[in-house]
């Protein structure tokens, strides 16, 4: 082999490879790599593909359970939902590309996660996303959000997957580092699962889908480095999506799978052809030999290096049964998609890449996959003021005007309705959407089974920054609670772990603590983690994001008729709280002090976000949380509840207001709420204590629900009744909030859309 380009320290640094890693490559190969091989190693050993900094920690997550068919290590996790059906689901980040080119970055994020699902043989039936942006006051952040939302819509709508839910958070630390985490879930028969394995020596290796171009070269390495002023110039690294082609690819792949002639299949995502070939060989302990002259190309004069590293979208690699290729190729011809035999499975365990018969790269598959470097990076607890600054409580005696505080809180983009966003997503295609967006969890039915799947995505960077261990637990607890409120039993989770630079010991410490917290919580709720994604280097000019683990929780509602909404449904229903009303602790004191120190008249923008950032992390008892959820689910299963709503962001007052609002055909309605005096009114109304669910029920069922709560040792308190047109909250004898539900709803519903020029 000829080494065309001399490998210098500069070239290593351009490939994000350290000197030690280079020596390791030389040792593995027993010689110096050529330029193409160096490129292959650089993408496969990048943080994005190798999980080299996170692997040792991820092992601590629980991954097994009675429902789990496939845990981490494949394209997506799979769980059994009974009746012969299984679901595949996964979440993945596309943060870096979405900052550089919001529309295409987000669109290709959706495209990538959808391929991860249908490459396993499952038809995607639901998409969700977890998005984080800087505050909308800045035009730059509005532009990023508008582009990201349009990109998700553009791809998902055309592909034909309903985007049924998710979360959107605004926070200064995401200004230069927006987070775009895309989740997808697919449905299939349990006996029709496909894996990314290149088995059967001699079997043909077939390339299908889009032609290869120069787009996205080094996308994986880009996602493994921080941003600086030059990042704009990385735009060519972002791929361009073609959802129409992906839709054809989906139909063709599912049809081809039915022939029984496909033995393994994997999408070409990050690191494209390189990753799919060596991973498929690695999993099957086989080798793969391909010749690049057969690879369909969109541009002329592409070098082997470029072809191997291209991240052109909408491509798949499959291995067919020898002698049955034609059955497969015929189906791709029907869908007018390129499908070409580019190589074969070998027994030697090598990835051998030829160009017109000349070997241009030859690397053991295992060296690129299982034997990639693993780092035990140094960890150190951050020193200094991670905890928020508490302002001096000078104005303690001032009487707070809660009645004017609530409307302003509801208008905060963090609490306000996300309708402006989700109405751009087709959330009804496939006719399975039982719960329209805006509820606690997304709910889609499984046709022909009488069951439904509930999904919730939750993260809380603000808490994780202060206490990564507790913050991660709170996120898991909230995700489960959202499912339970919808009537679902949580079954399993996927995670997207968004962090800063792992080479900083304090970031690695945060990561490790998050994993421990998540592991404990997932064990407590019996929800194994079946896979996910790690996104490091979310930093621009050294400024990192809050550690932001996002949990994607999946549960089952059985029968589908037990799907429970989160709104007040009818006049006269009793309103109750399951779980602790308020705690007299450090957190509660901080809620009081910071609210009193707040000067609403002096803050023109987002009052809630301004306030909430001053709060510490509330405490959480996994045991209480579990009991609260168990009580709620028991009551739903006995058909005792009319509605249930997770009480978290914005506290009790905000949750009660949300329950008043209209939803589809249901008009808005008021409530008459009485809270006991004698405890801090501030934390009573706005404290964000976890482990609380507000439920409504017919008054006749009060005794039965109370009994369930008592049997589970859960606090039960009747708060009042659904009544009238106003939300009225009394504490003791004093009315502290009295607002027409419709005017609160207007503020809440129009807040985000009002910040964009075009109203409709």
């Amino acid at each position: 082999m000829i080494t065309e380009i001399q490998i210098t320290p500069e070239i290593l640094s351009q490939h994000n490879l350290s000197e030690e890693e280079y020596f390791r490559i030389v040792k593995v190969l027993g010689r110096q790599p050529n330029f193409t091989e160096l490129g292959i190693f650089s993408v496969m050993w990048s943080e994005h593909c190798s999980y080299k900094s996170s692997k040792v920690h991820l092992k601590r997550l629980p991954t097994r359970g009675p429902h789990v068919i496939q845990g981490p290590g494949e394209n997506a996790g799979i769980i059994d939902i009974g009746d012969g059906y299984a679901i595949a689901f996964k979440i993945e980040s596309h943060n870096h590309p979405s900052f550089i080119e919001p529309y295409q970055g987000a669109a290709t994020g959706v495209g990538g996660i959808l391929r991860d699902i249908f490459t396993m043989g499952a038809r995607p039936v639901a998409a969700l996303n977890s998005l984080r942006f800087g505050p909308l006051e800045k035009a730059e952040n509005r532009n990023i959000m508008e582009g990201v939302v349009a990109g998700i819509a553009g791809y998902g709508n055309c592909f034909g997957v309903p985007t049924v839910g998710g979360e959107v958070v605004f926070e200064e630390c995401y200004s230069q580092n927006p987070l775009v985490n895309a989740f997808a879930l697919g449905l299939f028969k349990k006996d029709q699962i496909f894996y990314g394995k290149a088995t059967g020596v001699g079997n043909p290796v077939i390339y299908v889908g889009a032609k290869t171009g120069r787009d996205g070269i080094h996308g994986a390495t880009m996602a493994s480095a921080e941003f600086d002023e030059e990042s704009e110039s990385k735009r060519p690294n972002v791929q361009v999506g073609d959802p129409f082609l992906e839709k054809l690819l989906l139909e063709a792949c599912l049809e081809a799978m039915k022939t029984g002639a496909i033995v393994g299949i994997q999408d070409m995502g990050a690191a494209g052809l390189t990753c799919s070939t060596c991973e498929m060989g690695g999993r099957a302990a086989t080798g793969i030999e391909i010749d690049l002259q057969f690879v369909p190309q969109r541009e002329t004069g592409m070098t082997p290096y470029e072809i191997m590293l291209s991240e052109s979208q909408e491509r798949m690699l499959l291995v067919a049964e020898q002698g049955r290729e034609e059955e497969v190729l015929r189906i791709f011809r029907k869908w007018e998609i390129d499908a070409v035999r580019i190589g074969r499975v070998t027994a030697d365990g090598l990835l051998r890449v030829k160009d017109r018969g000349v070997v241009v790269a030859e690397i053991p598959n295992r060296a690129l996959t299982e034997e990639a470097p693993i780092y035990y990076r140094p960890m150190e607890e951050p020193q200094g003021s991670i905890r928020p600054l508490r302002l001096p409580s000078s104005a303690r005696a001032d009487k707070l005007d809660f009645d004017s505080l609530l409307p302003r809180f509801l208008a905060s983009p963090n609490l306000a309705s996300k309708e402006w966003i989700y109405r751009q997503y087709d959330h009804m295609v496939r006719t399975n959407t039982v719960q329209l967006p805006g509820g606690d969890a997304a709910v889609i039915r499984v046709k022909g089974t009488g069951k439904a799947i509930a999904i919730s995505l939750d993260g809380n960077g603000r808490y994780c920054r202060q206490d990564p261990h507790l913050g991660a637990q709170i996120a898991v607890a909230e995700a489960c609670r959202n499912l339970v409120c919808s009537g679902a039993q949580p079954l399993a989770a996927t995670n997207c772990l968004n962090f800063g630079n792992p080479q900083k010991p304090e970031i690695m410490w945060q990561f490790s603590r998050v994993i421990d917290g998540m592991a404990e919580a997932c064990r407590a709720f019996g929800t194994p983690v079946t896979g996910g994604n790690v996104s490091f280097y979310n930093e621009t000019l050294g400024e990192g994001i809050y550690p932001t683990p996002v949990i994607g929780m999946v549960g089952l509602i059985e029968p589908v008729s037990q799907t429970t909404g989160s709104r007040f449904m009818k006049e006269g229903d009793a309103v109750v709280l399951l779980g602790p009303l308020s705690l007299e602790d450090e957190y509660s004191k901080a809620v009081s002090e910071t609210l009193h120190a707040l000067r609403p008249s002096e803050i023109s923008g987002d009052l809630y976000s301004n306030w909430v950032n001053q709060l510490p992390c509330p405490s959480l008892s996994l045991n209480i949380e579990r009991q609260v959820q168990r009580s709620c689910l028991q009551a739903i299963r006995l058909a005792l509840l009319v509605s249930a709503h997770d009480c978290s962001d914005g506290g009790l007052a905000v949750a009660l207001a949300e329950m008043c609002f209209s939803h589809y055909k249901k008009p808005s309605v008021g409530a008459d709420i009485s809270l006991p005096a004698g405890i801090s009114v501030e934390s009573l109304l706005f404290g964000e204590f976890p482990s609380r669910i507000i439920a409504t029920l017919e008054p006749d069922n009060l005794g039965a629900v109370k009994k369930i709560a008592e049997e589970n040792s859960v606090d039960f308190l009747q708060l009042g009744y659904v009544s009238g047109s106003h939300l009225r909250i009394r504490v003791g004898d004093e009315v502290v909030i009295h607002q027409p539900a419709t005017s609160l709803e207007d503020l809440w519903r129009n807040s985000i859309g009002g910040r964009f020029k075009i109203a409709l």
Partner: protein, 231 residues
């Protein structure tokens, strides 16, 4: 009473229509590939929604050249029932089976939501089970649903009672605020002069079971079944 559901590359509501006809209405139903040169002896044809050819040109502009569209033209000319939903409506416009054209939504964004539409005429095979003036709750999901035509065509549509659905408030008022996309005269659906071809932007198949929050759309298909039974 066999229904045919046409699949173009990029159609994505074909399974939804298929499910609704087969599993909810319990009628025979078959997919028809866009390259097909016959309609497999179907007695009614549905052109479903989606993004035929990615909508990369004008919506529906490429799909109308598919071989199957020649059959659909002939079928329609002989009085066969043809229902175009969303992208299907756009294809029927491009194919000249219905007059007018679609512009981008007034808000320049894709809009997915439940809307109210008023039945303007029950004297079609698609609306015979409905009352004129009845308000249906049926979802829309489109980027180009802003119906447009010249004044003369609009006059003709009105004069011949070809406007079948209009966007309205839940109590039946066809106000500007109830118009989700800016369409001319709040038009949500129109039929041809012979009343056997209907195009509509709302998706009746998405409102065909109580679990989907509305089953108002089912009545459109029930009307079609009735028409076929009686013909």
């Amino acid at each position: 009473m066999k229904f045919g559901v046409i699949i173009f590359p990029g159609s994505n509501c074909e399974h939804d229509v298929y499910h609704m006809i087969g599993k909810v209405l319990h009628q025979p139903v078959e997919f028809i590939w866009h390259q097909s040169r016959d309609l497999a002896s179907c007695e009614a044809v549905v052109v479903p929604g989606g993004f035929s050819y990615g909508d990369y040109l004008r919506t529906g502009a490429i799909a109308r050249f598919s071989p199957v569209m020649e059959c659909v033209q002939k079928f329609a000319a002989t009085g066969g029932l043809v229902l175009g939903i969303c992208n299907g409506f756009q294809i029927l416009l491009e194919a000249g089976l219905l007059p007018g054209a679609m512009l981008k939504n007034r808000g320049l964004k894709y809009v997915c939501q439940h809307v109210s539409i008023r039945v303007e005429s029950s004297s079609t095979p698609f609306t015979s089970a409905l009352q004129t003036g009845q308000v249906l709750s049926i979802p829309i999901g489109h980027m180009e649903g802003n119906y447009f035509c010249d004044d003369h065509t609009l006059w003709e549509l009105e004069a011949n009672q070809q406007i079948i659905f209009r966007y309205c408030t839940p109590d039946g008022q066809t106000t500007e605020a109830a118009n989700p996309n800016g369409s001319l005269s709040n038009i949500a659906g129109i039929c041809n002069r012979s009343r056997n071809v209907l195009g509509m932007m709302p998706h009746p198949e998405r409102a065909s079971e109580p679990i989907l929050n509305s089953s108002d759309g089912l009545m459109i298909f029930e009307s079609m079944v009735n028409a076929l039974v009686h013909s």
